[in-house]
């Protein structure tokens, strides 16, 4: 970090750079602020031109999203709760299993040099790179044949496959941060290697496991492509439910805005919890911890 005083750059040049930087911050933060505001507007205010800054809060959007209050039992009850529950179940169980597998795989890849380790890591990393639509062409057939179509178990398997690669690489990054001497000291002192892994190394990467779980949950929670094609009614997740709102009859904007906010709130909470390990999460732990 350059903290020491730097040679002066001309003032107007510096002001121009500051203005550019400010514009970007507005461009970045504005839209999130805008969706939260819009989700509280009535239908009329949504389409007002010029856009309204001060308006009276209107909860019709959220009522129809949860099928409560004025919208209970009526046609406009859009009822997002069951897809919300599906999303929670699929994301959390998928994350738990992906992190479990990722922790085991990450440890072995961090500690041992074995034939085929490079190929395994590439194979695991490639799961993150695969275009969902391409593999879906076959999943569509496979899931139907195996009776997994439109089932939560099917989506959980997809969630594990989609996130185990990320979890393995991030956990490998965290395990690389634990000095190898920890196990060496334990083994020379008469303990078994498994003891060292469970009782010494794992407690030292508790933060890493939490961060990995955070990332996997966010990606599983936001997943749309697989869910939209592999589910019809029973296992529909929230993102798929929202996309259905833009059906033939035009777009129900109040419902989309409210449902959209419901979708991003948990993500923002999780994101805040794991912000310290952001770099690890987004770069598969390659660029170390900062």
């Amino acid at each position: 970090m350059q903290d020491a005083k730097l040679g002066g750059t001309p003032n107007f040049y510096r002001a121009f750079l500051l203005a550019l930087f400010g514009t970007y911050i507005f461009f970045n933060l504005g839209p999130i602020f805008w969706i939260i505001i819009s989700s509280l507007k009535s239908r009329a205010d949504l389409f007002a031109m010029p856009p309204k800054w001060i308006f009276d809060i209107d909860s019709t959007g959220y009522e129809s999203v949860f099928g409560v209050g004025a919208a209970r039992g009526t046609a406009s009850a859009y009822g997002v709760t069951d897809s919300l529950i599906n999303s929670v179940i699929v994301s959390s169980s998928g994350t738990f299993l992906a992190v479990l597998l990722g922790t085991l795989g990450g440890y072995v890849c961090s500690r041992f040099d074995f034939r085929g380790k490079g190929d395994f890591l590439f194979f695991v990393l490639s799961t993150r790179m695969l275009p969902p639509v391409a593999v879906l062409v076959f999943y569509h057939l496979m899931f139907a044949r195996l009776g997994l179509a439109d089932t939560k178990t099917g989506l959980v398997i997809v969630a594990i496959f989609a996130n185990v690669g990320l979890a393995t690489w991030i956990m490998k990054g965290f395990f690389d941060g634990v000095p190898k001497q920890v196990e060496q000291i334990a083994v020379v002192s008469g303990y078994s290697r498994m003891y060292a892994f469970v009782y010494l190394v794992l407690p030292m990467v508790r933060g890493g496991i939490a961060a990995t779980a955070g990332f996997c949950f966010i990606f599983a929670w936001n997943e749309f492509a697989f869910a939209s094609i592999l589910t019809t009614t029973q296992a529909k997740t929230l993102p798929v439910k929202i996309s259905a709102a833009s059906g033939a009859t035009g777009i129900e904007w109040t419902q989309i805005m409210s449902a959209g906010v419901v979708l991003i709130i948990p993500v923002l909470i999780f994101f805040y919890l794991i912000r310290k390990h952001l770099l690890m999460g987004m770069t598969f732990g390659i660029l170390g911890r900062s």
Binding site: A4, K5, L6, G7
Partner: protein
């Protein structure tokens, strides 16, 4: 070349006083070494002179001119850092001329200076290679070349040899000593290794707890320490220290039963009431056959060799003392040990400061 003066220099990080009211003058062309244990403020002082650390109070003068407000690049200083600070993506030659290019020197000037430095540092085909492929010793040599190439007013070195293998360290020490004398640039060198300080410095600034303890030439610092800290920090193996308790007819060593004759102690110590702690270097403690004029009888506990020198150790009360003598070949009771009187120094055990020594007065 420049004369560097520090006047009541202090550097504080919140409540912690890293440098506490330091006053020092480094003359033009002099090689001064800041020596002291980790965390004594020596590196912070160096960084303040370099301009990488703003001084909380006090003045830093180059040739009488106050430069506190100048940034590091305006101060015409050059610095070699502890962990090699070469640009990994530039070749050795590009690394060396980087400061010249950055300040817009002309191409011909740059080429001329590069040849001059390459010749001094005997850098042949390494010039085309990249830092990553070179051993730490050569890398620091290149860092030194980069510092010297723009003949700075002051050359600053922050423990440049501590990250290098022992073998190359001695090699680089010789190279550095020779180079500095040949170029005559004012140099300030920071280290915790007292061997480096003794072999390189015109004058050593011994620091502890953010303050200067003693400033002197290596020879004087070795033979005339001004405090217990100075006596113990300089010299390897470190000085033996024993309490002197006045008893009838002489002084008892620590809580042992050994009594030294009165005349071994100078008069100013003898009639002062303060408790005294005596220091003697292992080199001044020899084994002799018959009881010497100034000597004691002890049981030699351990005998071992350090290189070509033979060490023996014996117990005085509960403290262990050491001597160096070619004849120390076996342990055993009732051995006579002679102490060279001129080597004795006496300290006030409360303040740790020096009282007059036998030979010269403080």
């Amino acid at each position: 070349m420049a004369k560097v003066e520090l006047k009541n220099l202090s550097v504080e990080f919140g409540a912690f006083k890293a440098v506490n009211n330091v006053n020092l003058t480094v003359n033009d062309g002099e090689f001064v070494v800041y020596l002291g244990p980790s965390g004594c403020g020596k590196t912070t002082t160096l960084r303040a002179v370099a301009g990488l650390q703003t001084a909380t109070s006090g003045d830093i003068l180059f040739d009488g001119q106050r430069i506190n407000d100048q940034t590091a690049s305006e101060r015409n200083i050059a610095m070699v850092f502890q962990f090699v600070s070469l640009y990994p993506h530039l070749s050795i030659a590009e690394n060396i001329v980087f400061p010249l290019k950055a300040r817009g020197f002309k191409r011909a000037e740059i080429a001329r200076k590069l040849d001059w430095v390459a010749e001094i540092f005997k850098l042949g085909d390494e010039l085309k290679r990249f830092p990553g492929a070179l051993p730490p010793g050569t890398k620091q040599k290149v860092a030194l070349a980069r510092a010297v190439v723009r003949d700075p007013a002051v050359l600053l070195l922050d423990e440049p040899l501590s990250a290098i293998d022992e073998q190359f360290r001695e090699e680089m020490r010789w190279e550095l000593g020779h180079l500095q004398r040949e170029l005559g640039v004012t140099t300030i060198y920071v280290t915790h290794d007292q061997r480096e300080a003794m072999s390189l410095a015109d004058r050593i600034v011994l620091m502890n707890d953010s303050q200067i303890v003693q400033v002197d030439e290596p020879h004087n610092l070795f033979f005339n320490p001004n405090s217990i800290f100075s006596g113990q920090f300089i010299g390897s193996p470190s000085m033996n220290l024993m309490d002197l308790k006045p008893v009838s007819g002489g002084f008892r060593l620590g809580d042992s039963s050994i009594v030294l004759p009165e005349k071994i102690v100078p008069d100013v110590v003898r009639n002062s009431a303060i408790p005294v702690r005596m220091g003697v270097r292992p080199r001044d403690v020899k084994l002799v056959d018959e009881p010497p004029e100034f000597g004691i009888e002890v049981a030699v506990e351990d005998v071992f060799s350090v290189g070509r020198e033979r060490y023996f150790s014996f117990r005085v009360g509960d403290e262990i003392a050491q001597g160096i003598d070619v004849r120390s070949t076996s342990t055993g009771q009732g051995r006579n040990v002679a102490i060279r009187p001129e080597g004795l120094v006496f300290f006030d055990s409360q303040t740790g400061n020096r009282i007059a020594s036998k030979g010269t007065d403080v």
